[in-house]
Symmetry: C2
Subunit: 251 residues, 2 copies
């Protein structure tokens, strides 16, 4: 793991770029925190990248509100990573279905399954590496945040990664994810958009239902696919503060 830049210009948050092999990532952490930091892994949505505005905004809130470190990496074919022929073919199939008005949920689920096969080991390697830099002090509990494609990758990840002890998912249906969701037993906050034009309501409710967790909360908000209300950032911050602790940084 190589750290390439460090910037502390904004809001008491240190922002570092890193690479792990060919995976580019960003780590946000408290300026004043040290030792036993919790860590939140943040996976971006489809077509986005590790520094998408929603990722950056939430990362800053989790650092300042929970005293956590936050890591984001580019998914395969996203952000600064090359797009393989196979990835291009998957995207072309998705675009074609969208243009003809065909239902895309099965195609999206197939794309997520293909991405997760690469991204799950990448996330686990990133977690290993971040834990192995003692100077970072990332020794606390680990959470996961990812909606849409971030859920398509995060549910299979949380199903096999025992270090993840709390997760926020959402804005995706059950297609291809039911078996993995049933294996997850840690606390879950699950976002749905009640009037989502891309995710079938019943399929989203079925995915929430499938999680094996005894503590799980569905937050369903009126509005369309991209309309998750800003107050859900507050809720996510409190969810992670409750389950991960608050590090040694000022809350």
């Amino acid at each position: 793991m190589h750290f390439t830049t460090a910037d502390t210009s904004s809001n008491d948050v240190v922002e570092r770029d890193f690479t792990l092999g060919d995976i580019p990532g960003v780590l946000w952490s408290p300026v004043s925190g040290s030792g036993h930091l919790p860590l939140v892994l943040m996976a971006h949505s489809g077509g986005q990248h590790k520094r998408a505005p929603g990722i950056v905004a939430r990362a800053h809130r989790f650092v300042t509100g929970c005293g956590a470190a936050v890591a984001a990496i580019d998914a395969p074919g996203h952000g600064d990573r090359p797009r393989s022929n196979e990835f291009e073919q998957q995207i072309a199939g998705l675009r074609q279905a969208q243009q003809t008005g065909a239902p895309v949920s099965t195609i999206v689920a197939g794309l997520h399954t293909w991405l997760a096969a690469q991204a799950v080991p990448e996330w686990r390697a990133t977690l290993d590496a971040l834990r192995n830099v003692p100077e970072l002090g990332i020794e606390g509990r680990v959470g996961f945040w990812g909606i849409m494609q971030g859920t398509g990758i995060g549910v299979p990840l949380a199903a096999v990664e025992p270090r993840i002890c709390a997760a926020i998912f959402g804005c995706l249906g059950q297609e291809s994810l039911t078996d993995a969701a049933e294996q997850i037993t840690v606390p879950i906050e699950f976002l749905l958009q009640w009037d989502d034009e891309l995710v079938d309501r019943a399929s989203g409710l079925a995915l929430f239902d499938a999680f094996g967790s005894t503590e799980k909360t569905l937050h369903a908000n009126a509005g369309g696919h991209t309309g998750v209300p800003r107050f859900e950032i507050d809720s996510a911050t409190r969810f992670f503060a409750r389950h991960l602790g608050t590090g040694t940084a000022p809350a």
Copy 2:
């Protein structure tokens, strides 16, 4: 409106008993707040009363967390109020159905409709009266909190009372409430228990769906009818702080 006692012993909250005609109530307000207080009306659940532990705990949080005044009154036949023959008959019918294992949702809906016919004008008169005591300083926005029977009364109330500008309902299905819910357009937070043994999941989701509000959030938590998690009190406090303002008391 007559105030009978005032006690400031706990937690910077003034607690006053009052009567309005034959309706007994309690008003909680900030010790240090004055002028332009928001108000939260709190309706208790079936078989409970104005000073049930869940009511008192939330009232204190809304006072200290939002700088609001909070009012609770006994529903007809509940708490310190006499039980009429008609009320006794309704309860006997409910008990009989529970003992025979018959579905009770229709009977409960009938009881709530009967209660709401009396309780809605009682709540409106209470709101009028609290606004007409200038010394109380209750001049801010008005919210409503009530789950279970509190929703059976609160939905018809909010449908006709334009001063209510934000409401928390939950743990009840759509039976008899759909028409009133469709008339409500203010922001709503709606609680459901995902494994509720008394409220049918589809009926609860249908009630959430029915609200006419453009801002509405469903919080569905794993667990049975009485298992609403404690962290929902935090969420309710933030919901009211967002929509009612925070009065002049320290937040």
